[in-house]
């Protein structure tokens, strides 16, 4: 099995509203298994746009995207949804938890969708991850009763439930205070070191980026350093 989990080949993207302003300009790079990558750049440099292209949610781009060697470009929406479910875990700046469900159920949802294990197994798994993240005691609460840091940890547990190929983060600490930011970063670091989890995190925090294993810097839609 190849060690490349994510590969971008000459990816470009132009926003249709602003003609001829490329947001992404011929971007090519690969992410290997077990890497902890930080995508750095100033606001508006296109780093989030790149992340959503890599996440398969944004399909409006030129170039080719491969996830674990499989070409994603041009695949139907249902297949992309399957890939996201199975291989990609997301952590956003906001937590995006479903307030109708308990914390435990929120974590279990992608697992239930994947439908590869029994309910019981998924529940055990979810509890294991909540335990690792130190929030097992919150499992039966509704997300709207949790603090920001707790919510983000629940979101991380949800990202981990299907043992994803890669975890993608869009400013996962952007909305947290210093203490919680550190906590979340430590969790990512732990996942990377202990579980050899591949991570691809977009951030504008140089401090955060400096402590990862690999840093990609972007400016004006191009990669300037990697």
């Amino acid at each position: 099995m190849s060690d490349i989990v994510l590969e971008a080949r000459h990816i470009s993207k132009t926003f249709h509203e602003q003609l001829n302003v490329p947001v992404l300009n011929d971007i090519s790079f690969t992410v290997n298994r077990g890497e902890f990558v930080a995508l750095m750049g100033k606001s508006g440099c296109g780093k989030s746009t790149l992340l959503y292209v890599l996440s398969t949610m944004d399909t409006d781009y030129e170039g080719t995207l491969l996830v674990e060697g499989e070409v994603m470009t041009g695949k139907p929406g249902s297949r992309l949804a399957e890939v996201r479910n199975e291989k990609v875990g997301f952590v956003f700046q906001f937590h995006y938890l479903l307030n109708e469900f308990s914390v435990l159920k929120n974590v279990m949802l992608p697992g239930l969708k994947l439908n590869r294990h029994t309910n019981k197994e998924i529940e055990t798994d979810a509890l294991k991850w909540l335990n690792v993240l130190g929030i097992e005691n919150l499992s039966n609460k509704k997300p709207n009763l949790l603090s920001g840091g707790e919510k983000q940890r629940v979101a991380i547990a949800r990202a981990l439930i299907n043992n994803p190929l890669i975890i993608m983060g869009d400013e996962p600490t952007g909305n947290l205070d210093k203490k919680n930011s550190k906590l979340v970063f430590d969790i990512f670091k732990d996942l990377s070191v202990k579980f050899h989890q591949t991570l691809f995190i977009v951030t504008h925090d140089p401090e955060f980026a400096a402590r990862t294993s690999r840093m990609i810097e972007m400016e004006d839609g191009k990669i300037i350093r990697q």
């Binding site: 996201r84 997301f90 995006y96 949802l109 439908n115």
Partner: protein, 419 residues
């Protein structure tokens, strides 16, 4: 498993806005309730009104028309065979009202598989004497048992039993207004003058009430034997053969066939009462339109609520899509919400509609001309319940479809990045 998860999400979204959902369901319930009650009541009334005519009218009536022979002697005259003949004042000759060989005809008709039953009738005009005054009327000699089986004769008889016609000799049943005119009551003797100017005393044993006053004013019934006796006819003399078919729609075709086969006049019910069916089908149509309008209004309610739900749950939809739910899944979830509102509201509506029908059924309703009816007639045809639930499902599905498609097209990138 896959559907179970979608169902679970649909249920929790439903419960999250249970008040709105309930209102939407109540809308469906209300419209289905009204649909069922309205249709049940309207068609019940329709059946009653149609029954006034249709139940008592034979599907086919066979009789001898008094008419001129179409073949006149002049046609035999050579030299004029290619000419057009103008003959004035042609009289009918050698024509009797009697149906010749009626027994053989009846036997043939009874063997026809399309025929439910047949009943002979002796139709004869008569005068009813009240002192010196003679009131013109009609006496129909019938076989009461057969007449009841085919045309519910007993239901229209009050004050006595229709079956007594065969038991009590020389008995008669008069239309109620006619009896009032003659100032006679049950047990009294009615004097009848026949067309042959003979006077017969007959005993009144009941009143006939068809619901059509003008008809009742001239109508009287006796047994066929009595009718033959008073008109001085032999025992096989009948003037009409009434036929009831299994399927009323066959009547015109069968009538045509009998006309040719027996050489008699045959008139089918559609020709005799053509305006009747139109009225009843239009009444049914109006009830359907009102019911369906109610349902469509309820459908808009569901559409609104689902649309609101989608705007409110945009974030949830986005994250479901980000974590691997496809557009189809999201569409299914919202359709499921719509359909469960439809099923829930519709089922409750059926129950309420049935209860409302039961209530209507107990409201007193005295139809002056129909003694057997005491409450409002309601039709409990399961067909309307089936149509009701089917239509509630279709409307909720349609009203859920647009919001569901909209939800399935939500672009998670726009929602998530928009924050």
């Amino acid at each position: 498993m896959k559907y179970k998860l979608n169902t679970e999400i649909a249920i929790s979204l439903l419960l999250a806005r249970w008040r709105q959902t309930l209102i939407a369901a109540i809308g469906v319930t209300f419209s289905i309730t009204m649909f069922i009650a309205l249709l049940g009541f309207m068609t019940g009334l329709n059946t009653l009104l149609d029954g006034l005519i249709l139940n008592r009218t034979p599907h086919i009536r066979l009789y001898n028309e008094i008419e001129q022979n179409p073949f006149q002697p002049i046609a035999n005259a050579r030299g004029y065979d290619k000419a057009y003949h103008f003959i004035s004042s042609v009289k009918a000759a050698n024509i009797r009202e009697e149906i010749y060989n009626s027994e053989a005809i009846i036997k043939t008709i009874v063997e026809d598989k399309r025929v439910r039953g047949t009943s002979p009738k002796l139709h004869s005009p008569a005068f009813f004497n009240q002192g010196n005054v003679r009131i013109a009327g009609v006496i129909d000699g019938i076989n009461p048992q057969v007449e009841n089986k085919l045309f519910n004769f007993y239901e229209y008889v009050s004050g006595g039993s229709g079956s007594d016609l065969n038991i009590i000799p020389n008995s008669i049943i008069l239309g109620r207004p006619l009896a009032e005119q003659l100032l006679v009551d049950i047990g009294d003797i009615v004097y009848v003058t026949t067309t042959a100017a003979e006077i017969f005393p007959l005993k009144l044993i009941g009143f006939y009430q068809s619901g059509i006053r003008d008809l009742d004013k001239v109508q009287a019934y006796t047994s066929i034997a009595t009718a033959q006796k008073i008109s001085g006819r032999p025992a096989n003399y009948v003037t009409d053969i009434q036929v009831k078919l299994h399927d009323i729609n066959d009547a015109p075709a069968v009538a045509k066939e009998y006309k040719r086969l027996f050489g008699l006049q045959a008139i089918d019910i559609q020709t005799a009462n053509s305006e009747f069916e139109t009225g009843s089908s239009i009444r049914t149509l109006i009830s359907f339109v009102v019911g369906i309008t109610l349902l469509i209004v309820a459908g808009f309610g569901i559409y609104n609520i689902l649309n609101m739900l989608i705007y409110e749950k945009m974030d949830s939809i986005a994250i479901l899509k980000a974590t691997g739910f496809s557009g189809t899944d999201v569409k299914r979830i919202f359709l499921m919400i719509a359909l469960s509102i439809g099923i829930f509201g519709g089922t409750i509506g059926l129950i309420f509609g049935y209860l409302l029908s039961l209530i209507i059924d107990t409201i007193p309703f005295n139809f002056p001309s129909l003694p057997s009816i005491t409450t409002y007639p309601v039709n409990y045809n399961p067909m309307y319940y089936l149509i009701g639930i089917l239509f509630s499902l279709v409307t909720t599905y349609m009203s859920g479809l647009f919001p569901a498609v909209k939800a399935s097209k939500v672009d998670p990138v726009i929602i998530i990045r928009g924050k």
